[in-house]
């Protein structure tokens, strides 16, 4: 008999700790990894700076590392010298801004962000006056524990009123030249020996008189001449023009498109109304994309400029659930798109899928897709005459819900409800990785209106899959707009009751419960509307380009054998079987509203007696009034509103659905 001799038990123990299982990427990795793989859509030529290459194809959040502190070129004495060197009066170098930093508590962070937002100011986690030795995903001041917010840096006007109660420091009083005087910036940075200004073509030999814009030979005003060394128009003197020429769209003004890849249409579509922030040193510019994803900054950035996207606007803010550095959940999802030099007015920036489902790239893609879905839903509300969802929604995306693709719209934020049940957090937001109690304080600050889980297989991780969920949830929010807070309180309470009663991921009655609970009637009504609209709108957008879809019954694909009509999102409603015994949620009338609208019925398959023709979305939405809390009441109200038209057929249809 052979004996196993274990000579080094402690060593074995250490090995077991390391290799016992695959750890999730919750914690930061401070190691710089030399993975220069570019995401699809990026080209090295586009990223003209070697400072930043996106490494979003994994879930590792890398910390930005800083080197030596730089000489601040924007301090008054240096700026005075810059003006003098360019033949202008040093008295122009007045204090225009303050460079400040805040040290908010967790409780103060969101309020600070909101205060700054309202004044058009941006917060940054990284100080601007240090060499960045590695451009990561975030920065955490070494003096502050990971669990607490790091210093937040900002550039504020001189008359800025600091929010009371928040620790702050004024780091410098600075002068930011007018936007038509980028030559002053160049000279100031040259004086401070900033390397990237020199590399960026900003070297300005002393003696040049009043370097001005625009920065292209073909655009020089008649009174100006192109200086090939300074790479800018300079005045020819002799009284021929002393003011800069009017600003023009030029290579120094960041502009371009921000796209998100649509996996169904296999094309890149513009990210709509997303905030774009450009920053170099203390110069910060904020704008939003238009409906085509196009953005144009207003300020000129002659040298390297950092471009960020932040998924926020007046309609919605997209937050990401996190398992580490939880305070970062209080900021909407943001992403550095790149650091650009040279021509900056023709940027094409992409949100593409990459890596495993939990990668950063996929989080950005999900945020961008959901961000667009909010806008599209608002458009559809106008097109089909139903109420738009409330504005300023707090939408959390996660890949840690109890079941893949789970989503919910409790509108806790809109309804001013602070006590989020633990069962909600465990079911919809973070079932696998972090205890609900740790998250509760953060949701008390930025409260949840909507939770969208995007965890699934990569094959299923498609635009129509996610947008159908987004449209479904946005349609709940439209129902809130229509029926009001009291109705929605009742609806959410009913769903939370059933979630609490069926918490297990393998519980077949998770999340709606059974048909015979007191909560079922309002759940059936609210979900009947939302399931209909989710698929109806997904079909509007994708039609035959949709991927396979299902709603707890059968899966419908564009190429199903046998070839069904190739509209999966219509099929899933039209072929819904309200009596299917193996579907625990067959009592939710997911196909009812489609049957009210459409013509035809595969009656032997569905057992639905549908002779109702041609109601409109507007009509079916109008009956969702504040006092209508059951499907039967809905039928009565609908009939009242349409003058009892198709009375028998509507009665028969509702009977087929069990109502």
């Amino acid at each position: 008999m052979k004996k196993l001799h274990l000579k080094y038990p402690p060593l074995v123990l250490i090995l077991l700790v390391i290799f016992s299982c695959t750890k999730m990427d919750l914690k930061k990795d401070r190691t710089f990894e030399t993975d220069n793989t570019l995401l699809p859509g990026w080209s090295k030529a586009q990223l003209t700076s070697a400072d930043f290459i996106p490494q979003d194809g994994d879930s590792i959040e890398r910390i930005t590392t800083l080197g030596v502190k730089l000489t601040n070129p924007y301090l008054i004495p240096n700026m005075q010298q810059a003006y003098t060197n360019l033949g202008l009066s040093s008295s122009l170098a007045t204090i225009t801004n303050k460079y400040v930093r805040f040290k908010p508590t967790v409780a103060q962070l969101a309020a600070l962000d909101s205060t700054m937002d309202a004044q058009g100011l941006e917060l940054f986690d990284t100080p601007v006056d240090y060499v960045v030795t590695y451009e990561g995903d975030y920065y955490q001041d070494p003096s502050i524990p990971d669990s607490l917010p790091t210093w937040q840096y900002a550039v504020v006007p001189t008359n800025f009123v600091f929010p009371s109660g928040i620790i702050y420091e004024i780091l410098a009083q600075i002068h930011i030249p007018g936007d038509n005087y980028t030559a002053i910036e160049t000279e100031a940075e040259r004086l401070a020996s900033l390397q990237d200004s020199l590399n960026g073509g900003g070297s300005a030999p002393s003696g040049l008189k009043g370097g001005v814009q625009p920065n292209s030979a073909s655009y020089c005003d008649p009174c100006f001449v192109w200086d090939p060394i300074a790479r800018e128009c300079v005045p020819i003197g002799n009284g021929c023009g002393t003011n800069p020429p009017p600003p023009a769209v030029d290579a120094a003004i960041p502009a371009g498109y921000i796209y998100v890849h649509d996996t169904n249409l296999n094309t890149d579509i513009g990210v709509r109304k997303v905030r774009v922030v450009a920053r170099r040193w203390f110069k910060v510019d904020r704008t939003y994309t238009d409906n085509a994803g196009h953005f144009v900054c207003t300020k000129k950035f002659k040298h390297k400029v950092r471009i960020l996207e932040r998924f926020k606007n007046d309609d919605a803010r997209i937050y990401g659930v996190r398992g580490w550095r939880l305070y970062q959940m209080l900021f909407p999802v943001k992403r550095t798109l790149g650091i650009f030099s040279g021509t900056k007015n023709n940027l094409n920036l992409f949100n593409n899928q990459a890596g495993p489902i939990n990668s950063k790239a996929n989080r950005y893609w999900a945020a961008a897709t959901t961000h667009n879905a909010v806008q599209e839903h608002r458009d559809y509300a106008g097109q089909f005459s139903f109420s738009v969802a409330p504005s300023a929604m707090n939408i959390f995306i996660t890949n840690w819900a109890a079941l893949e693709g789970l989503a919910s719209t409790p509108l806790f934020h809109k309804r001013v409800i602070q006590n989020i049940p633990t069962s909600f957090i465990n079911t919809f937001l973070a079932s696998q990785v972090i205890s609900a109690s740790k998250l509760v304080p953060f949701f008390a600050i930025v409260n949840v209106d909507m939770a969208i889980d995007y965890h699934t297989t990569l094959a299923r991780f498609t635009s129509d899959w996610l947008k159908e969920t987004d449209y479904h949830e946005m349609s709940h929010a439209s129902h809130f707009t229509k029926a009001g807070t009291a109705w929605y309180n009742q609806f959410v309470t009913a769903e939370l009751n059933q979630i609490a009663a069926h918490t297990g991921a393998n519980d077949p009655l998770n999340p709606y419960g059974s048909s015979n609970t007191p909560d079922a009637p309002i759940i059936a009504l609210g979900e009947g509307w939302a399931y209909h609209m989710g698929h109806f709108l997904a079909d509007q957008r994708y039609g035959v380009n949709a991927t396979c879809t299902d709603e707890g019954q059968f899966q419908y694909c564009p190429s199903n054998p046998p070839p069904l009509v190739a509209h999966p999102h219509t099929n899933v409603l039209e072929f819904y079987i309200p009596t299917l015994s193996s579907d625990p949620f067959h009592w939710i009338p997911k196909g009812l509203m489609e049957d009210l609208i459409d013509n035809g019925e595969p009656v032997q398959f569905t057992q639905v007696n549908d002779l109702v023709l041609g109601l409109t979305t507007s009509q079916i939405f109008s009956a969702l009034q504040s006092d209508v809390t059951t499907v039967s009441q809905y039928k009565t109200r609908l009939l009242q509103q349409i003058g009892n038209g198709q009375l028998n057929n509507i009665n028969n249809l509702f009977t087929s659905y069990g109502y």
Partner: protein, 208 residues
């Protein structure tokens, strides 16, 4: 020596704990698309009262997942269930049930009244036998009429974290669907033509 042994035991226990409870093991969730077949026999357009029609359905356990194009061993699945609808084919309301027009003879698997629609629908569950999931039963006609029987596909047959959809194709060459002409015709509210899903899932016959 004793200290060494104690250390060994402690380390072993901690090691075992880490192996089994060190972290939550991810459960790989797959969605499979399988196919199965069914057939009614004898394949007659009309039968007499007292005659029996047999229904046989088979789903291979080692089934081709049409998504991945790989053979999957799906043995040991639960909820291999669906429903079979029994309707009259020539009434103005095609949802009128016809369960009471037949007597049922149990074969393989389970068959019972679907309580959600007892007049028209039977809940059925396949049984796992060797290499297949099987379902069979006989129906004895006890009332005259024109009937349509529709087997619904299987949904959400679970196996651990995975689930499967099984599309059932009715293999009868002649499904006698001319009996559905009274439901589907030009300008019919149910549609101008027989929906494809009905064409592939429904079998009709007349009882004289």
């Amino acid at each position: 020596m004793a200290t060494k042994r104690v250390l060994l035991v402690i380390c072993s226990l901690i090691g075992l704990f880490l192996i089994f409870f060190g972290c939550r093991k991810p459960c790989t969730k797959n969605h499979y698309d399988f196919n199965g077949t069914s057939v009614f026999s004898p394949e007659k357009d009309g039968i007499n009262i007292g005659d029996t029609i047999w229904f046989n359905s088979i789903i291979s356990i080692k089934n081709l997942d049409t998504k991945s194009n790989q053979i999957i061993d799906y043995s040991g699945a639960s909820n291999v269930s669906t429903q079979i609808n029994f309707n009259t084919a020539n009434s103005t309301d095609p949802t009128i049930g016809s369960i009471d027009s037949f007597k049922f003879i149990k074969g393989k698997g389970e068959i019972s009244i679907n309580t959600n629609f007892p007049q028209a629908s039977m809940a059925v569950t396949y049984v796992e036998e060797k290499d297949n999931y099987l379902l069979s039963f006989g129906i004895i006609a006890i009332k005259k009429g024109v009937y349509v029987i529709t087997e619904v596909d299987l949904e959400n047959s679970y196996k651990k974290c995975s689930d499967a959809y099984v599309t059932i194709t009715l293999n009868n060459i002649n499904k006698h669907q001319h009996y559905l002409d009274s439901t589907y015709y030009p300008n019919s509210p149910y549609g101008n033509t027989i929906p494809l899903i009905v064409q592939t899932h429904s079998y009709c016959f007349k009882v004289y």
